[in-house]
């Protein structure tokens, strides 16, 4: 009898320590299908040298090794030629030099999801915001008077164009170094349209250097249409809306050279800017130009504030189109933005108060939406 105990103990020792928990295999949540997420806990005693992940299409096998993982791995995502809707069976073997231990097998069926649950909060807020916006547009259509606070930078656009006209110098408009798909670049086109219309009316030269050819093509169309709208199609000069380069600093060097040669009376920097923002704005300052800037790039706003006469900060750049057009529909969207901001501020205050008072109710509310 003691011999049986000894043999049992030796067998147990060779078999290795039991794992703390079994192998868990689940369909990877919120994915495009074809993947299974495996997770496990390390053996309760002893450190394995490696883990072998085995997979079979039927429970009886045969099982093929799909991955050999280091001892530190406690999860694995299997995406190797899996078919959605077909069950897969997994085995995991923890191996050391003297022992190996097989985890209980697990089964999972990979599936593609039609909705990303992690983005539920974004969806709820997006739908809510769109609803508020449509409501405000509806009110604006019915003649509701909407007040929009004056924005100094936008108010100064006409003044800056007038100054250039009086001085007989050109105006430089830099639509950023972002692609045409950037929201900030689209916002810049709006202001460009306004500036081009005014310069066409006053007969002032407008220079628009571009980093991307796509941006150049749109800028050319915007300037041309504005000249036509101003009743002066001959004011459009294609050579003044040109492509420079898509490289950041060569573009900066080219624009700086342009500023020092042409000495524009007014510089507009509107759109997406990065490290070149201050180099451009300081050169413009040294050239004696009045400067209006606007960007949604948070790190560049302080540079523009320091070096330019007027700066449109973040959302003010997007508000420019509504502000300049004075179109009730566009103003309605600005009001919707204000309401959404009010809701966000209310949530921030409520969350801060709740957490200060020891309650996580607001956090849990957002978790429920999630």
């Amino acid at each position: 009898m003691p011999a049986c105990w000894i043999i049992t103990l030796i067998l147990l020792a060779l078999r290795g320590p039991a794992p703390a928990a079994g192998l868990e295999a689940v369909d990877t949540p919120n994915d495009h299908g074809g993947t299974v997420a495996l997770s496990w806990a390390p053996p309760a005693e002893g450190q394995p040298d490696r883990y072998l992940v085995l997979r079979a299409a039927v429970e009886a096998g045969p099982f093929d090794t799909v991955a050999v993982l280091p001892a530190s791995a406690l999860r694995y995502s299997d995406s190797d030629s899996l078919t959605d809707g077909q069950p897969y069976y997994y085995r995991l073997i923890a191996q050391a030099e003297r022992w190996s231990r097989e985890y209980p097998s697990a089964q999972a069926i990979p599936l593609a999801q039609w909705f990303h649950r992690g983005k539920a909060v974004v969806l709820v807020f997006s739908v809510g915001f769109a609803a508020i916006m449509l409501l405000m547009i509806h009110h604006a259509r019915r003649g509701m008077q909407l007040y929009v606070r004056p924005i100094a930078g936008i108010g100064a656009v006409d003044e800056a164009i007038g100054r250039a006209t009086e001085m007989g110098k050109p105006i430089l408009f830099v639509p950023g170094i972002g692609e045409a798909s950037e929201v900030a670049t689209i916002a810049a086109f709006t202001v460009l349209g306004r500036v081009a219309k005014r310069t066409a009316e006053y007969g002032t030269r407008l220079i628009v250097p571009n980093t991307y050819a796509t941006v150049m093509i749109i800028a050319q169309e915007v300037v041309k249409a504005s000249c036509i709208n101003a009743g002066r199609p001959e004011a459009y000069q294609e050579r003044d809306v040109f492509y420079v380069t898509s490289e950041q600093f060569p573009f900066t060097a080219a624009v700086n050279g342009l500023m020092l040669r042409e000495r524009p009376a007014t510089n507009f920097y509107l759109g997406k800017f990065y490290a070149e923002s201050l180099i451009l704005a300081e050169t413009g300052f040294q050239a004696g130009s009045i400067q209006i800037a606007g960007t949604d790039e948070l790190t560049q706003i302080p540079f523009f504030v320091a070096a330019c006469d007027y700066t449109l900060m973040g959302e003010e750049l997007y508000a420019a189109s509504a502000y300049l057009s004075n179109d009730p529909l566009q103003l309605g969207t600005l009001k919707a933005q204000d309401i959404a901001k009010l809701i966000v501020v209310a949530l921030v205050i409520a969350g801060t108060l709740a957490v200060t008072l020891g309650s996580d109710s607001v956090v849990r509310l957002l978790d429920i939406v999630q």
């Binding site: 919120n30 994915d31 495009h32 593609a112 999801q113 039609w114 909705f115 983005k119 974004v122 997006s126 915001f129 769109a130 916006m133 547009i137 798909s181 689209i186 916002a187 086109f189 709006t190 349209g193 991307y212 050819a213 796509t214 150049m216 093509i217 749109i218 169309e221 915007v222 249409a225 050579r239 492509y243 898509s246 950041q248 060569p250 050279g257 490290a275 070149e276 201050l278 180099i279 300081e282 949604d296 706003i301 540079f303 504030v305 070096a307 900060m313 973040g314 959302e315 750049l317 997007y318 189109s321 057009s325 529909l329 566009q330 969207t333 600005l334 919707a336 933005q337 959404a340 901001k341």
Partner: protein, 209 residues
């Protein structure tokens, strides 16, 4: 029709890509990938238009002998050499071709030089911005002084750790609060702009009024 069709196409593309953001299914992922490929194809064609614009603008400068027209010759020669180096030589890193030689020995040093100018421009801009002309600019000056002193070993030694603590507080509390406020505004502004474009209210990008 000339206006309605682009607005409809914009709405359709924006709507499909918005839905794609919430749907992880492979079919929608393929829609996103295909749209990206189309974007790249269109981008290639626009590069040709860009090069034409560049050449035309510089040739005009040379013809008219405009100010500093000599640099335009360098630009045209640089363009021709780069294109030739890319077409007839290797563009792989470490290949030793003329294309990579120009990239490593001409473009990179020039770009680094331009970037390094930023240090001097920061100094000159800071000199103007930090003048104590009003109560607000005095606060800005003091905040900047504390942050600068808190970020150098001398400030730490001078104040026995007080300046770094003040600098950290300024950066982590009022600075982060202001940044988040601006970010919330930017986020809502972007969403609002995107909806305006989708609904055809904002048409400036298609030269609309």
């Amino acid at each position: 029709m000339k206006r309605q069709l682009p607005v409809f196409l914009t709405f359709l593309c924006a709507f499909v890509l918005t839905v794609q953001f919430f749907v992880p299914h492979r079919s929608f992922e393929q829609v996103y990938e295909v749209s990206n490929i189309w974007l790249q194809i269109l981008g290639v064609f626009t590069i040709l238009i860009g090069i034409m614009s560049l050449v035309e603008s510089h040739l005009q400068k040379i013809r008219r002998r405009q100010a500093q027209w000599q640099y335009s010759i360098i630009t045209i020669v640089g363009l021709v050499l780069t294109v030739a180096g890319g077409l007839f030589g290797s563009v792989e890193a470490g290949s030793g071709g003329i294309f990579m030689w120009m990239y490593n020995n001409v473009l990179n040093p020039i770009s680094a030089t331009m970037f390094s100018l930023l240090a001097f421009f920061i100094a000159s801009a800071a000199f103007r911005a930090f003048r104590a002309r009003s109560a607000m600019s005095t606060i800005l000056l003091l905040a900047a002084a504390f942050v600068m002193l808190g970020r150098v070993p001398l400030g730490d030694r001078m104040s026995a750790g007080l300046f770094p603590a003040i600098a950290d507080w300024l950066l982590n509390v009022p600075n982060v609060a202001a940044k988040r406020a601006i970010l919330i505004g930017i986020g809502l502004g972007e969403a609002s702009m995107a909806l305006r474009v989708m609904l055809g209210i904002e048409r400036s990008y298609m030269a609309g009024d």
